[in-house]
Symmetry: C2
Subunit: 350 residues, 2 copies
């Protein structure tokens, strides 16, 4: 058992060259190295099954080849498909470019101690991807007008100019509106997200309402009820909607979980979701397809959002050298309507 790991010095000795030479070859700065030594060194590495230490490399270069994924302190955050899909996308992009992923949760203590900054100054990490940011996260201001490599994944802020990649929530809202109107619905309700905290929630609702208005069917404020993106709150919101307008024939929920909550509410009111009351969700989580009836929804490609955010972050990090004037990264990814079986034309009362 070659228990002692071989290091750059062993390789140098084995191939009869200096440390420098080995290092240069390692870093592909080998224009200056003769092909013969190059080969000799390479095979020495092979023979000693040498792999450079990331740690030791990071010290002088101040690069860790690692990215942090930061999520808010929610219960079992990583079990949420939303985060999970995004993280999968991030992982994919990172792995393809040779970066590793560190998982971090922004607990209270974590924020108080500014660990997110330490992480960078530390050189533990070359950049940060923040998923699930809301207005609550005031410390993000510290990144405003800074060149620190941080990307806000699938959200953004009006007042703070931060790099971000998001789905086109405005288009999503408009798409839902068109779909429901085209089916013939006129008595529509909307379960919106927490729009005061999350810009994307606001955009979705804004997109939905403006389009309805544009097409001549403006929605009264009474027909918009807020939920907290959870099944339970979706159910409650739907109860409220149904009470305010028993003639309701269609509902657009700001996410699939709330749409599924609406299913429950509708059933409890002895109506059939998908028949008597049409539902459009948003996100296209896996459960949407499994629901009964399968949920028509707006697909947000979260995997893609993750991957794209990560690529942007990496370019940002790697371009750092020839950085001529900061330009805020602001990208908007397209969405699509996935038609399943939770909608039909409004039923004429028997």
């Amino acid at each position: 058992m070659a228990n002692a790991r071989s290091n750059i010095r062993d390789v140098a000795r084995e191939s009869g060259v200096s440390l420098t030479t080995v290092s240069l070859i390692l870093n592909n700065n080998d224009e200056r190295i003769s092909e013969s030594t190059r080969q000799r060194v390479l095979s020495a590495m092979e023979k000693l099954s040498y792999t450079p230490s990331r740690l030791a490399r990071g010290l002088p270069t101040r690069r860790a080849n690692t990215l942090a994924v930061l999520v808010p302190a929610l219960q079992h955050a990583f079990a949420d498909v939303y985060f999970g899909e995004i993280i999968s996308g991030i992982y994919e992009a990172a792995a393809n470019r040779g970066y590793r992923i560190l998982l971090e949760v922004a607990r209270r203590e974590y924020v108080r101690r500014k660990e997110y900054l330490t992480l960078l100054e530390d050189c533990s990490v070359d950049g940060i991807l923040f998923i699930g940011a809301t207005e609550e996260h005031r410390w993000l201001t510290e990144f405003h007008e800074t060149d620190k490599p941080l990307i806000i994944v699938n959200n953004h802020f009006k007042q703070w100019d931060l790099h971000h990649v998001v789905c086109d929530y405005t288009a999503a809202g408009a798409l839902a509106a068109d779909y429901l109107i085209d089916l013939g619905h006129r008595n529509i309700g909307h379960i919106c997200g927490p729009s005061s905290m999350v810009v994307t929630a606001e955009e979705l609702t804004e997109g939905f309402l403006s389009r309805l208005a544009e097409r001549g069917f403006p929605l009264s404020d009474r027909m918009v009820v807020e939920g907290q993106y959870l099944v339970e709150t979706g159910k409650l919101a739907c109860d409220e909607l149904l009470q305010r307008n028993p003639q309701l024939t269609a509902i657009f929920a700001a996410n699939d979980k709330m749409a599924l909550g609406a299913y429950q509410s509708i059933r409890q009111h002895d109506r059939q979701p998908g028949k008597e009351i049409s539902i459009v969700g948003c996100d296209d989580i896996p459960t949407a397809a499994l629901a009964d009836p399968p949920l028509t929804t707006i697909r947000m490609n979260f995997f893609e959002i993750g991957a794209e955010s990560c690529q942007q972050l990496i370019s940002m990090i790697e371009k750092k050298a020839d950085d001529n004037g900061r330009k805020t990264i602001s990208e908007r990814l397209p969405i699509a309507l996935i038609e399943r079986e939770s909608c039909c034309p409004p039923q004429v009362p028997a």
Copy 2:
């Protein structure tokens, strides 16, 4: 802007002591340090807003205070609740003990290059938690009879003696059997997991079948059909079961996803899941409670499994010093039946 990060030397200078003193204080080896210098140094750190570099620390100590979570190369692996719950548990335990989490996917290239070993030799990571291991992962043999800090999370192997933490699958199978028999079912079917690849699948089935036999109602092989843990395969397996025995009144599925697939199949056969045919699932994923009817299932506390695995790994790492003779870690966590609405006594044909 104090742009240049302050280091241990700055702190030493600022407080008028040597590097060593600062280092000792940093590592809480301060029995030897006078309280006054200690305070002086501490406030110097505060003043310079000093935070030690993890990288630099790791080099001499050969400790990264980081753990790797390794998952198999599945599509969008992190979006799976199963992995997600476990990872959440791992994170929790790791954070509480000051460890960070690195995410790794065992892609083909990754395995070929033995990156999982590099990771350790590298000192990028102090230990590895492998979730989703199956018989396919032959490279795990390299960890057999080794003291390398690796824990298999929620699986184990007959032939390789590896550290692991698992749910008590045998008990789970027995519990399901008792429950169904107690309800009065005699025409039972079972959708098992890929038992040739995964020991826990085998244990679950074994636990179920033995208990049925013990209680005097042995199940014929025909009434056991295998699925691949996916909704789709659960549906197919159930189709098969229904065809083999139309008198079937109850089914035990090896996981909730397949149980939900069974729902679909049963509906397509114009029977009512939960009424005409009882279903017991396994895992208790969030969707189980949302299903219609809500699924009765065996709860496997995956969060707990993750947390416990992680703690075991950490103790293993930290005890390394006074390591007297390897003892394989082998822990089995309890399970419980969560009664919802997908089961009832067998219906007498009208």
